[in-house]
Amino acid sequence: MNRTKIKLLLGNIFPQLLLILVMLIMVIFLSVASPFFLTWDNFRNVFDHSSLYIILALGMTFVISSGGVDLSVGAVAALSGVCMAVAMQNGLGVGTSILIGLAAGGLVGAANGSIISLFKINPFIVTLGFMSLARGLALIITGGIPIYGFPRAFTWWGSGHIGPLNPPMLLAAFMAALAALVLNMSRFGYYTLALGGNEEALRRSGVSIHLYKIMVYLLCGVTAALGGLIVTARLNTAEPLAGWMLEMDSIAAVVLGGTSMKGGRGSIAGTLIACLLLGILRNGLVILSIPAYYQQLLIGMIILSAVIFAEVRSRKGLASTHKKERSTAV
């Protein structure tokens, strides 16, 4: 009984352990290669930059665990940033404006989920549509011109200080803890995984799969809007083209973290570690003054090897465990 437990646990966290190992190797290598890497200021930089990716990737972890994908998050981040800016321009308070931005993100997410679930259309196509739609709206609202100059209470969310840390970091940490609790321990989390595992079984047990699917995409829309808050506040500018390719970065982090693209398996810890790993990688490349173009190349290679590794492992590893479990059982 206890052995099964330990075996299952080890099997589950193996990809994350491997990521930590890779991260440690990178840290050691970069510390030796550059005297600037292993300093508090630099680490603070890494955390600061990663926090945006972490927040977006958390919502994406839910969507991908449920067997879907959301390509609209980058555009939604831009749109909600623009909404907050316009609200503040029109004299609304900072808090209200932020809420309006978050609501805009949630609304796009809910629309994504509704269309995917009610019309049974591939999430890839639906969210691709909303990617274009949200970006278009952001451009229309601003007329293509960035809006800048916000109250201090707003820019605090991007560049404020809380002791040695800053709001984005704390927000990312808080959201990660919340996401881990929800995905692993709540009914919503169970159903998210069940949606990715076997939607039909969930339907037959009398659960409203439409409701839960819509909620998953709504959640992803809200995390995208939180990302929009951070970007807008950090730059003190609502830029309609902000968050370009952010969807790719967050999908990459989620997949690297061991969440299955087929759905049914998701790891918040994995997503967190993967975001930090990619953060360290970007940081390391800058410190070693490697041209930015190589970043794309290297990140692409890392994603591909992670996906291939996961696939090979799920075929070989699971097959052998399967046999063992069977033989002990019968």
């Binding site: 099964t4 995984l193 990715g196 037959r204 047990s205 399967h322 002990t328």
Partner: protein, 264 residues
């Protein structure tokens, strides 16, 4: 228990009268009457396309009949819906569609009915404990209730699916080809489980092509042919050859003769 009840005055768990269903020009069911009793395992046999699956789909509410009615608990319905069927205690154990592979055994048994603590967290401990008790009662042996279902064998999966039906307050359990694609020892376990459900007082309806299995577990056998219920037997009053005769239709016009030949 089942046999005593069967001998006395018997009240069927569900009663089907004159059920008709056609798909376009094809008549799938042509006026079927069927009573399923609690505490009894009824086997539904027939050739491919005879209408067995259509019949169980009507009972479980997946399909609506064109004509006829179903009565249950003293109420009469023109048709079922899946959620009404579940409410009334009818649950179907499907081969593949029933379980979520990536979730563990306990979560599958409680899927859709998870107990909560503090209004938010799924009460994992309680789920594990109650699942263990239930599986022990059903004599389903599974390494651990925290094993993901994808690691289980076909027989163990059936066991989990049955446990879930019972957890849904099921009192009538329908099996569609429960032993298809299963090894010998595995089938034996599943058959044992089905038999014990009958003995525990559940109304059990089994579709199977395997007459050997049918004769091991069933109290009565109903033969469906071309959408009609052509014959129903008490298992002890018949033999496989006779049943095959009715399935293929060679016994259709010699009914009198066969019955005499059996009794003598």
């Amino acid at each position: 228990m089942s046999n005593d009840a069967a001998q006395g005055k018997r009240i069927p768990y569900i009663r089907l009268r004159n059920i008709k269903k056609s798909f376009g020009h094809v008549i799938a069911l042509d006026g079927v009457d069927l009573d399923v009793y609690p505490g009894e395992v009824m086997a539904l046999v027939g050739d491919n396309g005879a209408g067995k699956s259509t019949l169980i789909k009507i009972i479980s509410g997946v399909l609506n009949p064109d004509e006829g009615e179903l009565s249950l608990n003293g109420k009469t319905f023109k048709h079922m819906t899946p959620s009404r069927a579940i409410e009334l205690g009818i649950s179907t154990v499907y081969q593949d569609l029933a379980l979520v592979d990536c979730l563990d055994v306990a979560s599958n048994i409680f899927l859709g009915r998870e107990p909560l603590k503090a209004c938010f967290f799924v009460d994992k401990k309680r789920m594990n404990r109650e699942s263990e008790e239930l599986l022990r009662r059903l004599k389903v042996s599974i390494p651990s209730v925290i094993t993901p279902v994808e690691f289980l064998s076909g027989g163990q999966r059936q066991g989990v699916a049955v446990a879930r039906s019972i957890k849904l307050q099921g009192r009538m359990i329908i099996f569609d080809e429960p032993t298809a694609a299963m090894g010998v020892s595995e089938s034996a376990r599943v058959l044992e489980l089905i038999r014990s459900l009958g003995d525990e007082g559940f109304a059990v309806l089994v579709i199977s092509h395997n007459l050997h299995h049918v004769f091991t577990i069933a109290d009565c056998i109903c033969v469906i042919r071309s959408g009609r219920l052509v014959k129903d037997f008490r298992t002890e009053n018949t033999n496989p050859d006779q049943v095959v005769g009715f399935i293929t239709g060679s016994n259709r016009y010699t009914e009198e003769y066969t019955e005499e030949s059996i009794t003598t």
